[in-house]
Symmetry: C2
Subunit: 231 residues, 2 copies
DNA sequence: TCAAAAGTGTTAAAAGTACACCCATGA
DNA sequence: TCATGGGTGTACTTTTAACACTTTTGA
């Protein structure tokens, strides 16, 4: 049974070696000529925890599972539903379409290639969207995404996290590009390398890249240390 | 009209020049021989935002207003209500005593002397309690308080906040004791002074303490800078 | 004259920042 | 032979951490 007043919304960022993308759904609307984009999210069930709800909802809507979602903020503006389109959508899919809903925002960051979303439930489509080119979203989802991005960058800087976005073996250049993508700014190559090697989160292997049209880079892997305590 | 599923709980820390205290209520129970302590908190109203609800609830229960409350986390374990006493309490004060409630935690830090709480609503008493000697609390409030403390310390370290806890004019020793109280550890006097003076958040006055039984300290006040953009 | 907190500098280590050239590869 | 990203070191600045003695007051 659904709780009519509390939902979760999942802000799932995907990294594809170059850009940050956001997982969005296209809502199924009665009038097929209209389109509306939104975050994957839905009401929680009476008997589940919030974290659990976030995982379930994400899976039901997009097919994605095994993603570590972290709660980041609750949104409870009484007028979160801003648009006539939002109301139409709610009328199709909610027992109490006019009930006030407080939503709990969840955040994740994944390797895009590992997750191929497939639409189901009330999602017509599910897809990755470059965050530089986001469309306007339903409800207050624009605002939720903004808050999530801020939180992501803030956390990224101080936790030594994010290596799970890289392939099993990776070059330091790839790591640097990951950091640059997420933080949205350029970093100095030599200083970056010095720092990351000192932290000993990565270990050099004897392998090198092949088939690249430049000097092949040494491949690294996660140190055992770091491999141990990922969330 | 109350929303049966969403509440706010306020974790209000008070600083009294020496110790950190927590604002607690003693719940009114039908059986007067039983006592139960809890955070000030209640269901939100259908037409109010979350921040608004937190302020209202705190005021209704404790009489305190004008406190800057910041959301820090949502708690939604389906079995948050752990105790028979909790149920008794809910039966007295809630229309749907068995409804599942998700609560949004709010955090504040104030100068204790500025706020003299007065119990009303379902609070028998409201009082400041030294956080070193907290009793066990109702629902999952122990857990909420733990999370709040962690958040408080984390934020305190990096935002240059907390000066609002000091008197209008204060000594650097007082500032240091404030930091030590909140962070829960000793700091080096010389390094602390160097740092705080460099940041230029405080300005020396020509006044000195009087009537103290040691060398009187110079008094400082907030710089105009800092006075401007407090939340 | 004593107790109690105020006040004050130096040094060493660590961390951060800026910066420019050669290298190995496949096309 | 060229375009491309890989790879490397040094000098400077800033930040942090450790540490001990003298001063002023009221009791």
């Amino acid at each position: 049974m659904q709780n009519p007043n509390v939902s979760v919304d999942c802000v799932v960022f995907g990294f594809d070696k170059e850009k940050l993308n956001l997982l969005l759904i296209e809502q199924k609307l009665a009038d097929k000529r209209k389109v509306q984009y939104a975050l994957p999210g839905d009401l929680i069930l009476e008997e589940e925890g919030l974290d659990q709800a976030a995982s379930r909802v994400l899976k039901e809507i997009s097919g994605l599972s095994g993603i570590y979602l972290k709660q980041f903020e609750a949104f409870g503006d009484p007028h979160r539903v801003k648009d006539i389109k939002d109301l139409e959508f709610l009328q199709s899919y909610r027992e109490n379409p006019q009930a006030r809903v407080i939503t709990i925002g969840y955040l994740a960051l994944v390797k895009m290639e590992d997750f191929a979303p497939e639409a189901s439930s009330f999602a017509e489509k599910v897809f990755w969207q470059d965050i530089e080119e986001l469309p306007s979203l339903a409800f207050d989802h624009d605002h939720i995404v903004e808050c999530a991005l801020e939180k992501l960058r803030h956390d990224f800087i101080r936790e030594k996290t994010g290596f799970e976005l890289l392939p099993e073996r990776f070059t330091l250049g790839q790591v640097q590009r990951l950091y640059e993508t997420i933080l949205g700014k350029k970093l100095d190559k030599r200083n970056f390398r010095k720092k990351i090697l000192k932290e000993e989160l990565v270990t050099a292997t004897n392998q090198k890249q092949k088939g690249v049209l430049h000097k092949p880079a040494r491949l690294y892997e996660l140190s055992d240390l770091k491999n141990g305590h990922n969330p």
